[in-house]
């Protein structure tokens, strides 16, 4: 999550106390990802260390206020102008589970897919109910919240479509008698060459 850049971008609107930043971040993202005070101040410390923000005591000396620096503004512009690259996502966990399951003997893959699809559909329904309760957004924080819900809805939908697709793919492979369970490869690995995933017909049938 781009907490660092988000806080910096909010500071571009105007100087804030740490607790103000927490509130601003949350109301601008539909209160979907709450932040704790520790995350806020750790992030601010790093931003200050990197010269992206500066802090000054309040007029009454009670609290620190944070200001964005010109380097900070450049960082924000760079963030907005570049794509978000996803190294890994939560969905990979599901892809791994399904990938492993398909290689195991005695696993009802159709059932694994169905259980997941039901759960994801339930999530999709919950998100849609939240959206149904939000009428036409009038303020930009309401609009921002709706964008976040939409994003979660489209992700859930994509997962369901992938599950449907996988189900059909597996059914075809199964109907063609292909891709049975994968036994442990007992061939010792040779030095200098990667082990080949070859199996004998007898092993595949066992």
């Amino acid at each position: 999550m781009s907490v660092k850049q988000s806080l910096l971008a909010i500071l571009q609107v105007g100087p804030c106390h740490g607790y103000q930043l927490k509130g601003e971040f949350e109301r601008r993202t539909g209160s979907t990802w709450p932040l704790n005070a520790g995350q806020i101040y750790n992030t601010l410390d790093r931003l200050e260390r990197d010269g992206l923000v500066e802090r000054e005591p309040d007029e009454d000396d009670q609290q620190m206020r944070y200001f964005i620096t010109s380097t900070g503004r450049q960082e924000v512009a760079g963030w907005l102008g570049s794509p978000v690259l996803r190294a890994s996502t939560v969905r990979d966990e599901l892809a791994i589970k399904l990938a492993i399951a398909v290689t195991l003997p005695h696993v009802d893959i159709a059932r694994v897919i169905q259980v997941q699809r039901s759960a994801t559909l339930g999530t999709l329904q919950d998100l849609t109910r939240t959206k149904a309760a939000t009428d036409d957004p009038e303020t930009s924080d309401e609009l921002a919240g709706l964008l976040v819900i939409d994003s979660l809805i489209f992700s859930a939908e994509a997962e369901i479509r992938w599950l449907d697709h996988s189900e059909t793919r597996l059914a075809r492979a199964s109907a063609a008698g292909l891709a049975g369970p994968l036994p442990i490869n007992r061939e010792p690995a040779r030095r200098g060459r990667p082990a080949r995933a070859t199996t004998t017909v007898d092993e595949a049938r066992s």
């Binding site: 039901s118 559909l121 339930g122 999709l124 849609t128 309760a133 859930a156 939908e157």
Partner: protein
Amino acid sequence: MSSDILLQLDGVAQHYGRGQTAVTALSGVDLTVRAGELVAVMGASGSGKSTLLTIAGGLSTPTSGEVIIEGSWLSTMTPKAIAALRRKTLGFVFQDFNLIPALTAVENVSLPLELDGRKRSRARSAALDALGTVELADRASHFPDDLSGGQQQRVAIARAIVGTRRIILADEPTGALDSITGEVVLRMLRRRVDAGAGGILVTHDARHAAWADRIVFLRDGRIVDESGSRSVDGLLGARP
């Protein structure tokens, strides 16, 4: 609670042809729709979704099983009586809107009432009420061609709930609309259901099905799974 049931399918099967060439479109389908409940039917093309909808709406007679619409058993009724029941109780919403181009919005909505023998002025008044519930009262005298796709579909929803009609049977109602307009239509459908209607929403899109209270999966003419089954009371509690 049984008085809340608007529509019931009981062991419904539909076969076409005989012997070796027989095709089973539906088999042993049980489905109940209560007032305030929207049921989504999902499935791949050819799974029997549209057949289910035409049988639920009394447009075709199943090979076996019973369809009960607001307490009336269709198997005991003449085609003429079924047509009259249909006009009084339910309306279809199709992907391509199916409005009559030569009639204005309000005339399209009042048509089922007029066909049912209601006075023109009363039918018109009920149609204006129905158009008001889909926020189109100000477009009443527009012809379909002068309305956007989303507006036409909202007219179709108004037609489906005009007068005493409480059952909406929707077949891919957002299929011809962009995603934001489609959402407005589903929101409107959801609101009509929350106000006491009941409906079946046939779709292949999970994002659309998610507007329903229950989601039923159809595969090869059979219901294979149900998701999101929660009490309607609980759902209403969750909504503001």
